[in-house]
């Protein structure tokens, strides 16, 4: 019987944190105080949930299922996307109720159905908007923009295919992916900070 992989929780926590920062950025969330609107969960909350579930044995892991980190990172990604989806549904339902209430006898809207804070940004889970966000993040980066075009316009996903389409080595493609990850997170931090500054300037 194979000996189970021995976890290093410090490494797991930091790597899951890095992954969460990347996933948040992919969906346009940036800044140290970024949370999924509606559910109010931050990078730390998502990492905590996955780590705690694993440590307490609620998330079972066997070596046959692949690397532990990959498994936990998949759970993390699914959790974040589920939370974004739930928030989007809750918002849609809230808006429907607001419009119904608006048609009622009093004609007044139910303010309680609006997001709790004007600073909350609801993320659309439409593919078009995902593409738009990615294109905007790399608009000023020609080399990285080439990868974006290969994936979004040519619909390529295999490393070999992408590297061939770009006429670069797979090692160079790996290097560009690393730069893409970093640039995406930086771009969203700057965007998050700008939004934060605007919200502070605008009285509610």
């Amino acid at each position: 019987m194979q000996k189970p992989e021995s976890p290093d929780f410090e490494e797991l926590a930091v790597r899951l944190g890095g992954c969460a920062a990347r996933i948040f950025a992919e969906f346009g969330l940036g800044g140290p105080r970024a949370t999924v609107a509606g559910v109010g969960l931050s990078i730390e909350d998502f990492v905590w949930r996955v780590l705690a579930e694993y440590a307490e044995g609620k998330l079972e892991y066997e070596d046959s299922r692949g690397k532990l980190f990959s498994l936990l990172a998949t759970v993390l990604r699914n959790d974040i996307i589920d939370a974004l989806r739930k928030a989007a549904h809750a918002r849609e339902e809230g808006q429907t109720q607001v419009s119904r209430a608006g048609d009622s006898e009093t004609g007044s809207s139910r303010l309680g159905e609006f997001p709790s804070s004007a600073a909350e940004i609801y993320i659309s889970l439409e593919e078009d908007q995902y593409r738009e966000r990615v294109r905007a993040a790399f608009a000023d980066e020609p080399e990285l923009g080439e990868v974006v075009k290969a994936v979004l316009d040519l619909d390529l996903s295999k490393p070999q295919e992408i590297a061939e389409a770009l006429g670069i080595s797979t090692l160079e493609y790996q290097n560009r992916k690393k730069r893409l990850r970093r640039r995406l997170v930086e771009y969203n931090l700057a965007k998050g900070n700008r939004k934060g500054a605007r919200n502070e300037e605008t009285p509610l």
């Binding site: 976890p7 410090e10 893409l180």
Partner: protein
Amino acid sequence: MKKRRSEKQSERFDQLSLGLFGEPAEIGFAEAEELLRCAGTDPDQLKARLYERLYDEAQLYRRARKPLPALVKRALDDLRPLTAPPRTEKDLARQAKRLVERVLEQVNRLPSLVEGKPSLVFAEAYRQKRELSARDKKLLDRVTDDLRRRIEDHKKDS
């Protein structure tokens, strides 16, 4: 129907994400620290807060007189903040190693040290130390690899 649509949507996001940003496993420890900093989160603070939450969770087990799961105990040991007073020699060694890592990280950020200089050679004398466990050696190897990679990256960028 709705569920199938959301599953399809998730698969599509995964496919795009994979092509653009790669597998999650491609993010190593050093890069993850960098991404967290880029996102405005201090990795040490994140670990400290996770430790606090884990500590509170452990208290619930103690109060309920339930045995603490082995992995929770392990997580508490691994995430124990470096600023906490060391309880054992192992703690002391871990804190010392982390301090060395930080010094190395800071050195690595000084571009003047590597600009135009010949390749740095890592002595890796720690490999001969018998008192270091396999895990300790792995940790030091990771620091060395990270340092080497950053120097290479920096050379490419400049």
